[in-house]
Subunit: 319 residues, 2 copies
């Protein structure tokens, strides 16, 4: 099970990922896919697995293909926390991307087994240094956060749906996490600020010490107590399907942090380590969008990821 | 006349700027301004003047206020190439910015004296190492290019109007310049590529060895034979009026290059010098948008510009 190795690091810490495991129908301007593996936890856990031991918390339904479980197992992902609920089908999302991929519509959303889902954490999962509370109902994210020791580094992602429908739950979650990862349009909805810099500062006032605002093809911004950091996106020329890019970004970010701070050490990444992890997150996100579903994310490897990180370094190098 | 000084540089080279000098009416979501000094050459020459001797080529009409000439003179700008045509009023543009400033409509455009304008270059202008062919009819840009020696480093900017109405003239111009500076939506219209990376490569195939695509609040991309360079925008929180930001960017860019390559030297900036100049261009553009017209651009100084460059460096610093 190949992983990224960095100089001067020992064993990586572990990353727990909670979120959705889904079957998606996706329509893009160029192609379509039906019943393809998706969900925030799928993308995030696969991305994290290139860096650190990843543990998945989620639920699948009675229609879930066991071969799809193998896709996680092949990357060494611990599935002890993945429940199977035979009372109904797997979470299903159908969406359509518009020209330029700069907007998408949700055509159908069926929570299915997620309506009854109550995350249960295997005992060993408590020992994870990092937890990614992937996009899912904020009450489930909070439930998992509270099951974990306080010293676990908790990062959360969300989408506009939860901002609009479960705002109070989301605000409560923000007071309990270390890092909030959100995209630019969601940051605007949540804070009311159209200016991204103002939005980032306003988000920090809601609780999290660290904020990352993702801007898709325009890169990402880190708001840190020590200052701001801006990183452009990887220069992708073959965009196929943006689904899961944000989840892969978050999974790779926590995976890279797990490598940088190491097993058995406090999960207290420095500003420099967070920047470094963003390079890896950006590289992995760029791979994700070059194919449907998790295909490209599964077919890549440490060498390709490192190559993209190297290119990103030259892309921003001043001297 | 205070200018930016850089270590290890002698006398700066000179920058010729051709473009419009205008009176604008501007409506933004927050405020409006009437008959305010504008035009591509005004912004670009003022921006260049913080770095290098700037020479202006343009025309004003019978309504031009002599006090506005003083605004250029105060910054040491050579106005020998600025004609006064008493047969009509100065170029006039009226525009309205939409919420978020991400779109603007031209409400009125009166070329006035620009309809009859034929740029005439004073003899000393021939000795400029750098020429900025600012936004203006491409046939006028070409005329000026052809009046100058071949070894002059020529950069050009344009707007969607010329791409749509004078495409062939613009394509001819592109074969005669070194650097083309264009914004992302214009690059898309000109090349047909919605992907910015593809658009940049396609633009290089149209002639210019160097391409800069500006993305407003998302920064700018340099396409160079040696590779790509991405720079985020300065984190502006008080956007007042984006008019002229692109012109100021271009003027400061050539001004900074003039400092970096120096007087009497071939105007052949390296990849590293171009990156360095983009820092200055980004800093100066960020000042421009914080007030109406050229106000902020005139009230700033080398210390403030250097401070923004320093902040930009920390914004993108990886280690």
């Amino acid at each position: 099970m190949s992983r990224i190795k960095l100089p001067n690091t020992s064993e990586p810490a572990s990353v727990l990922v909670v979120g959705s495991v889904a079957y998606d129908d996706i329509i893009t301007p160029f192609a379509s896919g039906e019943r393809i593996l998706g969900g925030s936890a799928s993308f995030a856990a696969l991305a994290a697995s290139y860096f650190a031991p990843a543990r998945l918390v989620g639920v699948v339904g009675n229609d879930f293909d066991p071969r799809d479980l193998d896709r996680f197992r092949k990357r060494g992902i611990d599935l002890a926390g993945l429940q199977t609920d035979n009372s109904g089908p797997t979470f299903h999302w159908k969406g359509r991307y518009h020209e330029n991929f700069n907007r998408r519509d949700t055509l159908e959303i069926h929570l299915n087994v997620f309506e009854r889902f109550r995350p249960a954490l295997p005992a060993v999962y408590q020992k994870s240094e990092y937890a990614l509370l992937g996009n899912i109902h904020p009450s489930l994210q909070r439930h998992v956060r509270r099951e974990l020791p306080a010293e676990v580094f908790a990062a959360a992602d969300t989408i506009d749906l939860w901002i609009k429908t479960t705002r109070e739950e989301l605000l409560a979650l923000l007071r309990e996490i270390d890092l909030f990862i959100i995209n630019d349009s969601e940051a605007e909805i949540l804070t009311g600020h159209t200016n991204l810099i103002r939005a980032g500062h306003a988000l920090r006032e809601l609780g999290p010490r660290l904020i990352i605002i993702k801007k898709g093809e325009h890169g990402a911004y880190l708001f840190h107590p020590e200052g701001l950091f801006a990183l452009p996106a990887y220069p992708v020329t073959d965009l196929r399907d943006p689904t899961g890019a944000g989840d892969a970004f978050a999974g790779a970010l926590l995976g890279a942090l797990a490598v940088l701070t190491g097993a058995g050490q406090p999960a207290k990444p420095t500003f420099a380590q967070l920047k470094h992890a963003m390079l890896f997150a950006t590289a992995v996100a760029s791979l994700t969008v070059e194919a449907f579903s998790t295909d490209r994310l599964e077919s890549t490897g440490p060498v390709e990821i490192q190559k993209r990180v190297a290119l990103l370094r030259t892309l921003v190098a001043l001297d």
